[in-house]
Symmetry: C2
Subunit: 351 residues, 2 copies
């Protein structure tokens, strides 16, 4: 197993990225290639005892900054750490690429180097999402803010394959996120996508779900457009943060409540562990000719570790070939037409 990690991507690069790579290499024995500024990465590695660990550095002269326009950055900085790292995988010298950097930059670089799998309308960005019934698979979470109905139908199929490998569910129940189940609810996109999902997935498609049912785990896979999906993950995080902040403020303002909260700490800890999404690892851009995962920009070493672990899981489960096979089957059965948009247009869309 050989994963290339973008050593320069994320708010805490390269320090925490390299630290996470060291932890990961030590625990798994996997080769972890660090793409980035050689001197900077070497200086970080020097902080650890890496005897016996395989942590090669591949020098990248440049890197994409968080405030840069992705397409421009990828065009003007041909030797940025993402493009350099992705080329190693494309050339067959590694199994997957993982970054905590600029999501838009990763999508653009991924499309440029890997290109889309033949027959895939659009690559979909997906992540496990917590629910009462355990994690579900949610996508698109931000790669495609404006969608066509047939993309959503194909993602239903692709995300099912992902859920099988990732969650171990043999026949995932797929749903379409909407604002209500009554006839006439939803928007133009969901109303057009619903019959397509039904015809693509048959009985595995359970129809539309409202946010409440999604959170209750009514489906294993929830499909939505990239604008709504991105709002969903960001809002969930914001609401949870807000609630815990209010609770903490009220508790710390009261001495007796503080004692009570100390007694209840194991319960709080256990609840926090249940709600913790760190172990879910990195989001996956699904539909390209290569594995590309994107972790949280704020990742510290523990999240970097989990991002790498989730990436390795995709390699081990042969996700890429499963998706290719699945897409080929859909294309053959004619429920999705081959996409005519060129790679250049696709990359332009990401800007």
């Amino acid at each position: 197993m050989k994963i290339v990690l973008d050593a320069m991507g994320g708010d805490h690069a390269p320090q925490e990225i390299v630290a996470g790579a060291v932890d990961y290499a030590r625990q798994t024995g996997h080769t972890t290639v660090l793409s980035g500024d050689e001197a900077a990465v070497r200086a970080e590695l020097a902080k650890y005892d890496i005897t016996g660990l395989d942590l090669p550095i591949v020098h990248a002269a440049d890197n994409i900054q968080m405030d840069e326009k992705p397409a421009l950055a990828c065009r003007s900085k041909k030797e940025n750490s993402m493009l350099v790292g992705l080329r190693i995988v494309r050339n067959g010298e590694a199994d997957a690429f993982c970054t905590m950097g600029h999501t838009g930059g990763a999508l653009t670089a991924g499309h440029m180097i890997y290109r889309r799998i033949r027959g895939v309308h659009r690559a979909v960005l997906t992540t496990p999402f917590p629910s009462s019934a355990g994690p579900i698979i949610l996508g698109d979470i931000g790669a495609n803010p404006d969608c066509r109905p047939e993309w959503l139908a194909q993602w239903g199929q692709m995300l099912s394959i992902y859920a099988q490998a990732r969650l171990g569910i043999e026949a995932p129940r797929v749903a379409l996120l909407s604002n209500g189940e009554e006839e006439g609810k939803g928007n133009e996109l969901t109303r057009a996508a619903e019959p397509l999902l039904k015809s693509t997935l048959g009985d595995h498609f359970i129809g539309v779900v409202e946010p409440k049912e999604m959170v209750n785990g009514a489906a294993n896979v929830v499909v939505t457009d990239g604008f709504t999906g991105n709002v969903v993950i960001k809002l969930s995080e914001a609401v949870a943060g807000y609630l815990f902040r209010v609770l903490r403020e009220e508790i710390t303002a009261r001495p007796v409540a503080k004692i009570g909260a100390a007694l209840a700490r194991p319960a709080f800890r256990s609840a926090a562990a249940k709600l913790d999404d760190r172990e879910y690892g990195a989001a996956l851009l699904l539909g390209l000719n290569g594995i590309l995962t994107v972790g949280h920009g704020r990742s510290k070493r523990d999240r970097v570790f989990f991002a790498l672990r989730s990436t390795a899981l995709l390699v081990e489960s042969d996700m890429l070939n499963k998706i290719k096979k699945g897409v080929a089957e859909i294309t053959v059965t004619g429920s999705a037409e081959a996409e005519t948009v060129t790679e250049t247009e696709s990359v332009a869309m990401l800007n």
Copy 2:
């Protein structure tokens, strides 16, 4: 003050609706007209001592069921409790109409009876929404799942007027909800709406906000399309419910934690009070020639009370004339064109 209340609308009608009306009439002395089945409403009223309270009944032979298609129900049931109640307000015999019933039905009935204010593209459904900095005004929350950019720009103006009256903020900061602030983020709608909001609102428009900033109260008014807005309010409720459920489960599973939680109860109570949105009252459909508010379908008597109180506040603040004046000003300055879609088409859209 004279408010018409739909006695037949909501999951707990007519029992809880009538109970809330009695509480409200007792506390305010306002006339509360109950539209609905006369015998059923009379039977509920008989349960209370209503001496000195003004609670007239206006008989409505029919009512809209939750599983009905709104337009069809309004066309085939001309004497349903919503249409009957709204007519009383339109005829100048009452100040406002309030229902806990079918939202789609209320929107359709409202458009049919009140009609849109001249110059208003589309009526916007809006509600106060909790944030760290106190309630903000969010709209659209479900009346218009598919929007044009110019509607959002006009709503920015209309919701500002509402925020002034409702939250007492002289110059509300308005923002557009998006999935990110970087250039190229957002979808086609938000990218087209952003410059229009800027030109309509000038410096009062602070640009796009992500969910996190919205929850942190960065803006006083947040504008979005009705699909996203509806997902936002439903997801927030679902996430909050999920978190508290997990916390409660973990606490009750541990005897010591249970004691601790008992000691911390005042803090929990205070946190719950801060997060409680009951007092925000009913959502308002803004942009029609009359006040129409829609409370939560699950409302019991306390929420019915707050729905009525929030409705009275709109009447007292002369909201209708303020909106009419505001819209006339925008229309005159030419930043929004008069809408050509007919009322029939508008109602059809709601189905």
